[in-house]
Structure formats: C-alpha cells, structure tokens
Amino acid sequence: MKLTRRQIIAAGASALATPAIAADPPFPRPGKPITLISNFAPGGIVQKAMLDFQPFFDKEIGTRVLIETVDGAAGLIGYNNVFSRPADGYYILPCSSTFGPYIYPHLSEVPPPWKYEDWLPLGIYSDIPNSGMVVLKDSPIKTFPDLIRAAKERPGKITIGTIGPGRVEDVQIVELQKFFGIKINHVYYDSGGTLFTDLLTHDLDVIITAAIQYAELPSVRIFTMLAKEMTENFPYKSLKTMADWQKELNYDVNDLKTLGATQFNGLVVRRGLPDNARIKLITALKNTVENPEWRKRVAAYRFPVYYSPEKSQAIYDGLNKGIAEMIKDAKK
C-alpha cells in the first residue's frame, strides 16, 4: 500500500502525539493542591461559592483544595494573577455574567495581558435572573416605564448606582441609555454595602444590583429584573421582567442584550492545560453540581444547573460579541 504525503504526516503526528499524551503528568500530582481563586474581597458571594465548592472538589479531584483571595480592579487582578501562573489546571477562577474574560478586555482602560481566547470554560453551574433594579418603597418610580418617563422628563437627573467600573453593569447602563433614548446620571460604587446605604439616604434614585437579596426587605422594592423571562427555578414569581414592559414601551425583548441576560455563574481555567487535567476538572464540576448535598448547601444563593463546556463557551462567545458591539456603538 502506497501512503500519501498527507497520511505520512498524519502518522508522524500521531506517533509524536501518542507519547505526548502518555507523557501527561498525573493529575493531580500527589500532594499538590488545587487552588480556587476568589477574585473579590473576602466575605462576598464569590468567596462563599468557592467555600461551598471546596469540600466537594476535595473528594472529586482527590487532592486538597485551597482558596486564595486575589482581589482588585473588579476581579481583573485575579485573572491577571492566574494568567501569570502555569497553564496546568491547578488554578481555577470564577466567572459570571457580571465579570469574566468576555468583559474585562472591553471595559478595562489598560488592556489585560491576556486575550479572551486564553480562557477555557469548565462549565456553568448556576443560571437565574438576578440583576434587577431596586428603589426605595416610597420612590415615585414604581415601574420600569416610570423610570424611562422620569429620565426623559429630566435628562441626566435620575441617578443610578451600580458596582464598578469594569463589570457588565457598565454595559447595561450604556444599553439602557441607547436603547430607550434616555440620559441618566451613573455613579459607581465599590461595594454593595455603600451602594445600598446611598439608596437609603436618597442619594441614589435607583440601584442596579444582585437584587434577590433585597426581595424580602420591607424598605425597598425590585421593580424589574433585568431578564427576558423567569426561569423555572426562580423563587419570586411575582417580580416583573423586561418582557413585561414591551407593550407599554413598544420594544421587542429579544433585541435586548445585557438588559435581558440571565445571571450565570461558571468556572474557567487558563487554556493549554493537559487533557487529563481538563477532563478531571470538568467531571469534578459536573458531579458536584449534580450532587444533592451541594445543591442543598448553595440553595440560598445559587440556582444549580449544569451547562457543558461547549454550551458555556457558546454563551461566553455571545456575551463577548455583544459587549464588543455595544462598546463599539457607544464610542461612535
């Protein structure tokens, strides 16, 4: 049998690849811990999620799992830090619809040292509408159309606070103004505590935040969730979504990008890790999400669902593209 040149190359590549695969070091190496990076300050929900993963990953991966806080610049410092470490799968980062590799390159004034393509999703483990608009109970803004009307009557006078800069809320504000033809006064906060305090002091008219935490507070009201629709697992069915205002404000909810996204949470690693490490980590995440004990533990703040790395990649790609377009439009 005569071999073509392509077959010879393929055979050569295969021969080279086989020992390479065989030469992958065992994962994890005995005694070497896995580190979950918490890229926001201690005490926040990101660290809490990492703490809840810790014992389950311990068992699933078969080594000690540590949590290391590397915070700053809205989570970007954590990404830069992990990028400076080897791409071996020993360092895992959280990401969500509010922060992640699909957001930082577009919003950071100084480009990060890595590219969007440098990160590999392990999967998404929670997905629910969470970002919402919150006002004081006695605010004259009762509904989303009230906000739009008030902003049109008094351009630049309605003050909205968000956490930032450098998070998806920046883009939500851009979209809000562009899509509805309004101008608002946007003010950044570095913590949810002071953001909420300034709502109480009437410094802010509206806050955009992870709203579910305020759903049962008597002093405030969530007038809309920034989502296209409620998911089945959403606990507060009476809350409105962006789909509820379409008729009154004459728009199609499907045209919304960041104002109509759900709030996913996932994990990523630096791309380029060995295959055995990738498979081990993906399996560990999948098994953990399917574990009823873990689901029970996170029930108060996460809404478990498992999306494969491929599906997660598609969601990340969509967000990456959408934000890039939005920022490009905003700069025009």
Partner: protein, 655 residues
C-alpha cells in the same frame, strides 16, 4: 421597636453554654493570632475557619466567629509594643507609645493600658450595640456620600494638624501628603482610570495597606533591631517584666487614671464604627489624637504615656464592635471582617437587615452577647498571649530578626499573591529609611494612605450625585463647620507654639530644605503625569499635589531658609554609624533579596529555611544552632501554610 426580653434571654442562654464558650475561646485565640500576623487579619481568618464552623449549630458558629472578630483588633498592637512591629495598621498608634513605654522599662504599664483600653472600648461598643441595633436605621439615613467624605476629611485634618507628631504641622501635612500621593497609585474608583501604575500590573489595584505598613514600619525596624540588639536582649521584652496578678490589678488603676481619655475615645470609636467605610485604623488614630489632647500628662506624650495606648486601643476596639451595628441593623458590612460575618449569616439562611431582627431576634442577640463576651475572653487570654509573644524575645536576636523578616515576607506575599508585594515592601522600606533621614514621618504617611482613597472616592461620588449642592445640605454643612473649627484651632495652636518654641538648629533647617525640595519634585511629577487623565481622575491628584505637598513644601522652605540665616543653637551631634553596622545592614538586605530570588524556584518554606540559616550563621551563631533556627522557622511557616490552607509558592520540590 420594643425589645422582647424573652428573645434577649434566649440569645444570652445560647451564648453562655459550655460548648459555645469553648468555641468562643477557640475563636478568640485565632483572632489573636490573626491580629498579630501581618497580612492575615480577622476577615481572612474568619474566612479560613468558616468551612469548619459552618457544620456546627448556628449559635456556635456565630459565637466562634464573634470571638475572632472581636479579639483580632486587640492583638494588633501586641508585637508593636514588644518589638515596634504592629500586626496591622490599626495597631500602629498604640504601638508608638507602647513601645516607648517598653523601652523605658514600663512594659507592664503598656500592657495594662492595652488590655484595659481594649476591654473598655469593646464593652462600650457592646453597650452601643445593644442600644442602637434596633433603632439604627434612622441614624444611617443621614450619612450619604458627602457626609462620609467630609467625616473622613475631618479625621484627616484632625489627625494631621500636628496631633500625631510633636513636630510642626507643616512637616506633618507634608508627610500626610506623601501618604496621599502613594494612595493615588492604581485604578481611580469613580471613573476607572489607571493612575501612576508605571506599566506594572502589580500596581493596577494600588499598593496594599499591609505592604505599606510592613515597608514603613517593619523593614526599618528590622534594620534598627540589629543596632538595638544589645538593648533589646536585656530589655523588658526579653526578660519578662510582667506578672499575672500584677498585670490584671494594674488594669483598673490605669483605666481610672485615664478615665477622661478612655470614655471619650470609646464613644468616638463606636460612632466611627457605625459609619460604613471608615474603619478601625481611622478610629485608632482619632483615639490617639484625643488622648494626646486630653491626657493629664501631656509632657510625657511621645516619650511613653499610657494614655497614648489607652486612647487608640479603646477607640479601635469600640469601632470594631461598632461596625456590627450597621451589619445587624441594615445588612451593611463596614469592614472585611463584617463582610465575612455577613457571608456566614447568609450561609445559614439569615439575611441581616431590619426584618432580621424580627425574624431571628435570638440569633442577633447571640452574636451581640458573643461579641460582648469576647472582650472578657481576650482579656483572660491576654496574659498567656503576651508571654507567648515575649517568648520570641528570648530567641537570639539574629534568629528573631530572621523570623520576623520571614513573617514580613509571608505577609507581603499573601497580600498580593505575588512576589511583587515583597518587592514593593522592600522598596518602600528603603525609601522610608532614606525619607526618615530628611524628616519624613512614617505614621502620618500611613494616615494619608489609609484615609486618602476613601475621601477621594466619596467626594467625587457626592459631586457626581448632585454637584456642589450635595455639600450644602444640613448634615454636610454641620460636618463642614466641625472641619473649619478643627482647622481653626489647629492653626491657632500652631501660631502659639511657634511663639514659644526655641529656634531649630541649622542641621534641622537643612534637612527640612531637602524634604521640601523632594516634596516639590513629587508635586510637579504628580501634576505633569496626570495631565492626560480624565478630569475627575486628576481633580484629587492636583488637590493633593498643591494643598498637601507643594504648599507645605513652600512654607517649609520659607521657615527653614530664614532659620538658616539667623543665629542658631548648636546642632545635635550626629551619631556615627560604624562600619560593622553598615555591613550588617547590607547583609540583612542581601539576605532579604536572596530570599526573594529563591521563593519561586525552591518554594517559600525552603527559601525561609535558607534565609534564617544564613542570617543566623552570619551573626556568629554556631552551625548547629543556625540549622535548628532555620528548620524551626521553616517548620512554623509550613505548619501555618498547611494548617490554615494559605497559598505560598511551593517550588520544584512542591514543599
């Protein structure tokens, strides 16, 4: 809102069960450790313990975290009093006077003031807690961005106008200006502009406060420990100048003598704690300033005055407890530790805020009683803890220097998760030592650094919200009036002091000219390099460059220039620096740089062993003793790293 006594009793009953008291002791012990180790802190320690305690009953979990929370701030100044190396920024003011008392052979007085002040402050904070939690919602409504900014401005004016150092306010302002300038580095929080990062990623988030504390205080102290080795090895820190009964007996006397100070500082500390975002460091400095103003022994201030320990300790501890008030009443965490507490409450399905008090009254009272009992717990644990810290003092000086150096390296690394933290610490250490030679004061530098970012952030945020009109609302105007009054008093006192103080020597004037010259260079660089930034990103930069650096520099030049041309008293004879001392300092720095170079290739633990071994060997220890010292320090680091799950580089050997 009425208080249901049955709920209060239920909360108290939960707090005083044997199991809960034991966990409280565990928490308080860990809090003491966290407060002592640079770079750890109560927030991190609580986060580390959280996975363990979350499996316990809710009341036990809350009480163990309360133990860490309350005990941590007390321990901040223990090593500061013993070795002039405080654990965290909030421990610095108490360490300043405490260390002077120690050097003067009055260690017991220093610790009785520390323990007594902490207990008194925590108790006042606890009383405020139980009174105010049910009604705080009305109080917080008056403190928006503008009021928070102006309160921080008041703290800055109050502290920096000569209250911290005995030197003139101009020099003090200039040092504060240096701290404010260092705090400009990193991302501007209101608009996101990266400022003065020099193209280094490690500076994107600015300098970490612990790295600065270590650079400003610990590194110069390590160097001076070589020089002071003889004095320290025979001093009270090493020889054990305190006794159990005597310490506790003297607490009452110290508190009674300082009652005018401690009552004020505790109340002010509690009030500061209740305002989110200000924190115990500010409270401790304000406490120090109040102590200085109200002490009955003003002539002893700066030379070792127990009131200088009582004031900051009581204010800091009252503040730390005070931060729990907005947390429990409104769900607003005022510090990292409070944020972890919030996370812990959420983990067990309790969401702080006004509705929590109605739904989980007993748990709220359990936390509050736990914090109250923590004060007693850390008071009981204080003696063995101090003795433990003193035990370090009996180690050979070379080993002590190497061990403290290792802990500093660990603290700096853990703050940044990168060797950049260590590089920054060493650079700041060298600059501080050079700066001190021309009159720069580390304490005001730190004050500027701690307060600056909060002031800028809140001032610009208030301006963004409603422009200058936001500062003309009644509560803002009230705070503004207090600022003007404070500034007026400071200026009046400054003028009075100038009339009575003797002429400064020519050497001091020349030194001031150098300081002012450096100030003008820094101010020019700040203004020039900030020109391309957005308007809101350079507004504060220009204010710092002119108001806190250029103007004080020009005033200093004016006064020093005229002093140089007047007849002046003889200058102090400068202490000669021996060649051996220079050589020893050089070896210490070479050792630290070698340690830094070895961390990534061979791991932190092994690098620390080599560093301690080499340093001990150089300082005339026998080889076997040097080996034992190296193994002991490296073993301690390994136990800490493994036991608490810290991430430190492991190197090729994965150690």
């Amino acid at each position: 809102m009425g208080i249901d006594l049955s709920v209060v009793m239920e909360g108290m009953t939960h707090a005083i069960t044997l199991q809960n008291l034991l966990w409280l002791a565990v928490g308080a012990t860990l809090g003491l450790v966290a407060g002592t180790l640079p770079g750890l802190g109560s927030g991190s320690m609580m986060a580390i313990l959280l996975p363990v305690v979350v499996t316990l009953p809710v009341d036990t979990m809350l009480i163990s975290l309360a133990g860490i929370y309350a005990a941590n701030i007390y321990a901040d100044s223990t090593t500061g009093i013993l070795y002039n190396i405080p654990g965290h920024a909030a421990g610095i003011p108490a360490s300043m006077e405490g260390y002077r008392l120690n050097v003067a052979g009055r260690l017991e007085e220093a610790f009785s003031a520390q323990v007594g002040g902490a207990l008194f402050g925590a108790t006042v904070g606890f009383l405020m807690l139980i009174v105010l939690v049910p009604s705080l919602i009305y109080f917080v409504k008056f403190f928006g961005s503008a009021e928070r900014a102006l309160l921080s401005v008041w703290a800055l004016v109050f502290i920096s106008s000569g209250a911290v150092t005995r030197d003139n306010p101009v020099q003090s302002f200039l040092s504060v200006g240096a701290g404010l300038a260092l705090a400009l580095i990193g991302q501007q929080p209101n608009v996101g502009t990266f400022r003065f990062t020099l193209g280094l990623e490690g500076l994107w988030d600015g300098l970490k406060v612990v790295v600065l504390v270590l650079g400003l205080f610990a590194i110069p102290q390590l160097v001076s420990m070589i020089k002071l080795s003889q004095a320290l090895s025979t001093g009270p820190a090493a020889t054990g100048g305190i006794r159990f009964l005597s310490l506790y007996r003297s607490i009452g006397r110290t508190l009674w003598d300082g009652r005018h100070v401690v009552t004020r500082t505790s109340l002010v500390g509690s009030a500061i704690g209740m305002i989110p975002g200000i924190g115990p460091s500010t409270a401790a400095w304000v406490g120090y300033s109040i102590a200085r103003a109200k002490t009955r022994r003003p002539e002893k201030f700066g030379e070792g005055n127990p009131d200088g320990v009582l004031g900051p300790e009581s204010a800091g501890n009252a503040c730390e407890v005070g931060t729990i008030v907005p947390l429990l009443a409104l769900g607003i965490p005022g510090s990292a530790a409070a944020a972890v507490m919030l996370g812990a409450l959420n983990m067990v399905g309790i969401y702080p805020g006004p509705s929590m008090y109605a739904q989980y009254g007993a748990e709220v009272w359990t936390v509050m009683f736990g914090i109250g009992l923590s004060g007693l717990m850390f008071t009981i644990l204080a003696f063995p803890f101090i003795r433990g810290a003193q035990f370090l003092g009996r180690a050979p000086m070379s080993v002590l220097v190497a061990a403290i150096g290792t802990l500093c390296m660990m603290g700096a690394y853990m703050q940044t998760s990168d060797v950049f933290g260590i590089e920054a610490m060493l650079a700041i250490g060298v600059l501080t030592m050079l700066g001190m030679r021309i009159g720069l004061k580390p304490a005001p530098v730190l004050i500027g650094f701690v307060l600056g970012p909060g002031i800028e952030k809140e001032l610009i945020r208030a301006y963004q919200i409603r422009g200058f009109a936001r500062f003309l609302e009644p509560t803002s105007l009230a705070v503004l009036a207090i600022i003007v009054l404070t500034l007026g008093i400071a200026i009046y006192r400054g003028i009075q002091r100038r009339r009575t103080e003797p002429e400064q020597p020519a050497e001091t004037s020349r030194r001031d000219l150098w300081l002012a010259g450096c100030g003008l260079v820094v101010a020019t660089c700040l203004v020039v390099f900030s020109i391309p930034y957005l308007f809101l990103a350079k507004l504060w930069v220009w204010f710092v460059a002119t108001g806190f650096i250029a103007i004080p520099s020009l005033l200093l030049i004016r006064s020093s220039w005229s002093a140089l041309h007047r007849p002046h008293p003889a200058s102090h004879v400068q202490e000669a620096t021996s060649w051996k001392l220079v050589q020893q300092r050089g070896v210490l720095f070479a050792g630290l740089l070698g340690f830094l170079a070895l961390i990534m290739p061979i791991g932190f633990v092994l690098a620390s062993a080599i560093f301690v071994f080499a340093l001990a060997l150089y300082f005339e220890r026998k080889p076997m003793q040097a080996v034992i010292s190296g193994v002991a320090v490296a073993g301690f680091i390994w136990v800490m790293k493994t036991g608490f799950g810290f991430y430190l580089p492991t190197g090729v050997l994965d150690l």
